[in-house]
């Protein structure tokens, strides 16, 4: 059987890849997608621990996180669309209207 630590390493790797993506990419859609990746890393963690302790609490929370991700994606993409209509760009560092 696979020890739970393996799942933690996998989740850690995904999390770091996601963080690097969020910090380095300019395209805001990719940044959103990296956030999805981070959420997935968390899900793996939750489900692995859920499996370890033999309850479904972790899975239930993973479901809540997926719900969250759906809400986040819907609103995030809505903002991107609205922004794109006005500025014709999807680059995060060009979204600087509030910067003084």
């Amino acid at each position: 059987m696979i020890p739970t630590s393996h799942y933690l390493y996998l989740s850690l790797a995904l999390f770091i890849i996601g963080v690097v993506g969020v910090l380095t990419r300019r395209n805001i859609i990719i940044i959103l997608m990296c956030i999805e990746l981070i959420l997935n890393a968390v899900n793996i963690n939750l489900v692995a621990f859920s499996h370890l302790f033999g309850g479904v609490a972790g899975e239930v929370f993973a479901i809540f996180i997926i719900t969250d991700a759906a809400a986040e994606a819907a609103v995030g993409l809505g903002i991107i669309l609205a922004f794109f209509r006005n500025r014709e760009t999807v680059l995060a560092d060009e979204m600087d209207l509030l910067k003084w």
């Binding site: 059987m1 696979i2 020890p3 739970t4 630590s5 393996h6 799942y7 390493y9 996998l10 850690l12 790797a13 770091i16 890849i17 996601g18 963080v19 910090l23 380095t24 990419r25 300019r26 395209n27 859609i29 990719i30 997608m33 999805e36 990746l37 997935n40 899900n43 489900v47 692995a48 859920s50 499996h51 370890l52 033999g54 309850g55 479904v56 609490a57 899975e59 239930v60 479901i63 809540f64 997926i66 719900t67 969250d68 991700a69 759906a70 809400a71 994606a73 819907a74 609103v75 993409l77 809505g78 991107i80 669309l81 609205a82 794109f84 014709e88 760009t89 999807v90 680059l91 995060a92």
Partner: protein, 172 residues
């Protein structure tokens, strides 16, 4: 080592490899659509991991909601806003090195925590077959212990839905 567990390990390695490789590719691709596809494979790999962890219901939810729903939405938006010019623009910003160092630090910190705290959270071999029948157990948990969070989540979805409609609508 029995045949069962060999297969189990093989599946874990396979899905983990798919997930990690596609995650890396997703972050590095220039074309946003390609990125989205690699994210989809990463999500599918994660779904495989869920299946391997005996969380069948979550596997189905992951595919139906994440892959079949959220990512379609992503692709939809990408196709709507995809600009020719963006392919020739710089894809990474100036924080590249800062981010890398930060990530390495973060990774090191977690690894250290795993190594040092491993004994505290007892990384034993997980028990098998304790979460069957999975769908029924998850359903019972959601509708008994986690009723309030479940309702809150649905309210959140409703709010997000209204918000998305208002944001995306051209003329209200």
């Amino acid at each position: 080592m029995t045949a069962m567990s060999t297969i189990n390990v093989a599946f874990f390695d396979f899905f983990a490899a798919i997930t990690i490789i596609s995650a890396v590719l997703m972050v590095t691709r220039r074309n946003v659509v390609h990125s989205a596809i690699f994210l989809i494979t990463a999500l599918l790999g994660t779904a495989g991991i869920f299946l391997q962890l005996e969380a069948e219901f979550l596997f189905a939810v992951q595919i139906i909601l994440y892959v079949g729903g959220i990512m379609v939405l992503f692709l939809f938006v990408i196709m709507l806003v995809n600009l020719d010019v963006s392919l020739h623009q710089l894809q990474f910003n100036r924080q590249k090195w800062v981010a890398t160092i930060l990530a390495i630090a973060l990774g090191a910190e977690f690894l250290l925590a795993f190594r040092r705290g491993g004994s505290l959270i007892r990384f034993a071999a997980p028990g098998a077959g304790m979460m069957q029948p999975n769908t029924e157990l998850v359903g019972e948990a959601i509708f008994s212990n986690y009723m309030l969070p479940f309702e809150l989540a649905s309210i959140l979805l409703l709010v997000a839905m209204i918000g998305a409609v208002i944001l995306a609508k051209r003329r209200i």
